[in-house]
């Protein structure tokens, strides 16, 4: 029996093709994932992301706890104030990546947003570490979450909440505000402008319909994946997992070592590996010919296997195939990729492929 989000009926009403995503009944598309992808790049789309887990952390030692728990340092949020957000890794003692997450500074402590597929694992881990601190945490399954993304996203949300016109127009990136029980964060997983909005489940369906009636296009998991890949964003379980560290997953920027007095889980092994400097690196690939790069395809240079594709797709906005790959650090600019029986040539580039809606490749 699949779990349903508060938007389940909305999906059915928009002719969603429902699939089982980690135990949740979610739309893979509503007819054409390419059309949905294009809607996000040109106007505005919305994604039900209620399967992800929102966890609120309170208690006298919540700051101390979070600073120990995650790789990035929440102390940085304080100069920006309540609502400021940070992207971070949740590492194990070997610096392996348990999950990636966003953390917000809140009036009561901190709010975490973690992946759906890792819910059980993350909660068991957090539960265990929390025993050492005076903290409480609560999963907010009373909140639905909707990602509204695209160049017109903020305008569309203002249309249905005009009293927030000034607050949303002035909302900086990675910053959030609360209003009437809803939490509006200027974050996203598409490489476009937009908001991720947490909405009480009791009014979620209605919120969706208001946006739908104002021309926002429902978008499914298929489009979500092609958008985030074009934007060079990792997908947990594919581009990284517990067998890899932030160093070989393009995430060293989420490990904050600047406060030497801060100890955090995985710190010592991370520093050891960083010093050794023997790790593989994360790169982008662009297929030179026709075809599609896919996860698991090997990368070959001079008849040697130098790496593997961790996610790949056909990029609808770029109209060619791109991938995220983990390769040896001395990999040259042109490589071969094993696609079925053939070795196809691909170009190695820095991620992302698209930033602020614009292509970065020639």
């Amino acid at each position: 029996m699949m779990r349903q989000t508060p938007f389940y009926q909305n999906h059915l009403e928009s002719n969603a093709k429902i699939v089982d995503f980690g135990g949740w009944a979610l739309p893979i598309n509503y007819g054409s994932q390419i059309k949905e992808h294009e809607a996000v790049r040109t106007s505005c789309g919305m994604f039900d992301v209620s399967h992800m887990l929102i966890t609120d952390i309170t208690g006298a030692e919540s700051r101390k706890f979070i600073r120990y728990l995650i790789s990035n340092d929440v102390a940085k949020l304080e100069k920006h104030g309540i609502g400021k957000a940070l992207y971070s890794g949740l590492l194990n003692h070997d610096a392996g990546i348990i999950d990636d997450l966003i953390v917000y500074l809140m009036p009561f402590g901190y709010r975490l947003v973690t992946n759906a597929a890792t819910e059980e694992k993350d909660m068991a881990w957090i539960n265990n570490i929390a025993k050492q601190f005076e903290v409480k945490f609560v999963n907010r399954r009373d909140l639905a979450m909707l990602a509204v993304q695209g160049p017109l996203a903020i305008e569309k949300v203002i249309t249905i909440r005009p009293h927030l016109s000034s607050a949303l127009s002035n909302l900086k990136a990675f910053m959030a505000i609360e209003d009437h029980g809803c939490f509006y964060a200027r974050t996203g997983y598409t490489g476009e402008n937009g908001l991720e909005i947490m909405i009480p489940t009791t009014i979620a369906s209605q919120f969706w319909n208001e946006l739908l009636n104002n021309g926002v296009i429902p978008c499914g998991l298929g489009a979500r994946d092609t958008l985030r890949l074009e934007a060079g964003m990792n997908l947990y379980g594919h581009d990284m997992d517990e067998n890899f560290t932030p160093l070989d997953s393009g995430m060293d920027w989420v490990v904050d070592l600047s406060d030497e007095t801060r100890d955090f889980i995985g710190k010592s092994n991370y520093i050891r590996l960083k010093t050794l400097a023997e790790y593989d690196i994360q790169v982008g690939l662009i297929l030179n010919g026709r075809g599609v790069l896919r996860e698991g395809q090997t990368i070959v240079v001079n008849n040697n296997n130098v790496g593997i594709i961790t996610s790949g797709t056909f990029a609808p906005s770029l109209k060619l195939s791109v991938a995220i790959a983990r390769v040896k650090s001395d990999t040259p600019d042109t490589v071969l990729v094993q696609i079925r029986d053939n070795l196809e040539s691909a170009k190695v580039v820095k991620l992302p492929f698209i930033r602020n809606g614009k292509s970065l490749i020639n």
Partner: protein, 125 residues
């Protein structure tokens, strides 16, 4: 949708008679729906000899690659270059403009082993 002038393979190819010993082959509407937006197509060379159930090409959507099989034995006499240039033709017209290749048959009795429209409809439920 699935009409009596069509026969079907369990691998979701359709086949129509196109002349005295020739057939035209494509993938079914059901198959394109399962695959989603198609982005890449690999078809056999004209002149290639194929046997029934040989893998002769690839149909790729954004999310998955799927092998293309020849439902019957024969020689490839034409391929749909329009579909190669624009695989979405298969999404919009799988049974007509989205045809994939034409074969000159080597054994017309192989057609009897394929499913008719009613049986295919039952297969896909």
């Amino acid at each position: 949708m699935y009409t009596n002038d069509m026969k079907f393979a369990e691998t979701h190819e359709w086949i129509k008679i196109d002349g005295s010993n020739q057939v035209i082959v494509g993938i079914t509407h059901h198959a394109q729906e399962l695959l989603g937006d198609l982005v890449y197509l690999e078809l056999p060379q004209v002149g290639k000899s194929v046997k029934a159930r040989d893998t002769i090409g690839v149909v790729e959507s954004v999310k998955a690659a799927s092998d293309l099989y020849s439902p019957v034995s024969g020689k490839v006499i034409a391929v749909n270059d329009n579909a190669v240039q624009d695989p979405t033709l298969i999404n919009s017209s799988a049974h007509t403009d989205g045809w994939l290749f034409k074969l000159e048959l080597t054994d017309i009795t192989e057609l009897d082993k394929l499913l008719n429209a009613a049986d295919y409809q039952k297969l896909i439920g």
